[in-house]
């Protein structure tokens, strides 16, 4: 009989869930009818299952979605800014190429037409050639750095950018409680100065203390002018840090109390 009970117990759930065949059902009911122990077990299980059906799950709080999206935006931001940094780094290297030699090149070439007009001496001409040779060398060195820094699938694009005159890049990090005020200042700052790749240059993260951390990538041809403008825009706030990173991006951190 014990063997029979074990067999019945093994198929009990399957019976309850309607997973047994006609023949098994007959055997099951026959046994239950005569064995009190198995009948009790059967009733207990059915009772527990009926209670399980009634277990209620609370609704997730509205905060949950906010928290999830805040995390996701943070990740997305990190991903994008790494992407950006990488993109900008290459751009910046190109900019360094130019920055190192642009002044010289520009002067030299600006002189050329007038020189030609004026007619230049052989001496002047050779001096000019020397300068050009020097800048050419510098450019090559920088291009070399560029090549080793990034597996250079975008080489052509970088050259193009360099030819266009690659800009200065400022990463301005602002920490503030007043998002709107900061926004309007930033808007003013970026309308005139941004050369971006179509992505929103402003990223905002809100922390748990309702403080906003804004990062703005501002790029401009005239580095010094832009720097002055940034410091002027935020001059009544504390600029806590100001440095040029390895990637050539100039970081300015502004704390608005």
């Amino acid at each position: 009989m014990a063997d029979k009970c074990k067999k019945i117990c093994d198929m009990m759930s399957a019976y309850i869930d309607g997973m047994t065949c006609e023949k098994e059902n007959r055997m099951f009911l026959e046994h239950i009818g005569s064995c009190e122990k198995c009948r009790d077990e059967f009733n207990d299980l059915k009772y527990i299952i009926s209670l399980s059906h009634e277990i209620l799950v609370p609704e997730p709080s509205p905060e949950l979605k906010k928290d999830i999206m805040a995390e996701i935006r943070k990740l997305e931001f990190e991903k994008r800014s790494t992407k950006n940094r990488f993109g900008y780094r290459r751009l910046m290297t190109a900019a360094v190429t130019l920055a190192a030699s642009a002044a010289v090149i520009l002067i030299v070439y600006n002189l050329l037409p007038s020189d030609l007009l004026r007619g230049k001496s052989a001496h002047e001409d050779s001096a000019q050639m020397e300068t050009e040779a020097e800048t050419g060398l510098q450019e090559d060195e920088n291009m070399l750095v560029l090549g080793t820094e990034a597996a250079d699938r975008n080489g052509d694009k970088n050259e193009e950018l360099a030819a266009m005159g690659a800009p200065y890049i400022f990463e301005v990090s602002i920490s503030t409680k007043d998002l709107d005020a900061a926004r309007s200042e930033i808007d003013r700052l970026i309308t005139d100065n941004v050369v971006n790749d179509g992505e929103d240059p402003v990223r905002v993260i809100e922390d748990s203390e309702k403080r906003y951390h804004i990062t703005v990538f501002v790029t401009a041809q005239e580095g010094e002018v832009l720097y002055e403008e940034i410091t002027k825009t935020f001059d009544d706030h504390t600029i806590t840090e100001n440095e040029t990173g390895d990637d050539g991006i100039i970081s300015i951190i502004i704390e608005v109390p």
Partner: protein, 204 residues
Amino acid sequence: MSTEEEVIVKNAQKGDIEAFEEIVDLYQKMVYGLSYKMLGNPEDASEASQEVFIRVYRSINKFKFDSKFSTWIYRITSNLCLDIIRKQKNEVLYYEKNIQTDDGQITRDIHDKSASVEDTVLRTEKTELVRKAILQLSPDYRNVIILRDIEGESYTRISELLELPEGTVKSRINRGRQELKNILLKTSELFSDSSVKLNRREGS
């Protein structure tokens, strides 16, 4: 998968954050619900749900449309919860003590209620005891019992969700239910004590 959902998932794979937000809208209830059932409290469930969506976000490009998206998210949730449960294993003893404390509260609560709602209250409290007992099942049993007895999923769907042969699902459901009954007999007064207390009160 409905084409609409497919579009949302594809957009999210391209990095569209709004599409991802729609995914959160569509699945947070399921993810949170399962986490709550597996982990047993709202705080852990919220934390786990966040982690699930972070995982979904990070690995969404690994989803190749060879299963339902819901199945994929379900598996991520279930696996994460199982990990958490396994890490919590040492705290189970502590949890059992907690249940006993709760029982005390339950008894007190019942005395505060009016007699007319007592039946409903008692039923609810019993359900609560079952919920807590499910949390004491070993992770493998807990998983199938939640799916079968709370969610009402079919054996076939459970074997698909958990990637287990149907035979294994069948035997786990059966053993899980028996185990659940043993836990209830051992750790709570589902079948005796609370009803005895109530009967005594009714008699007085």
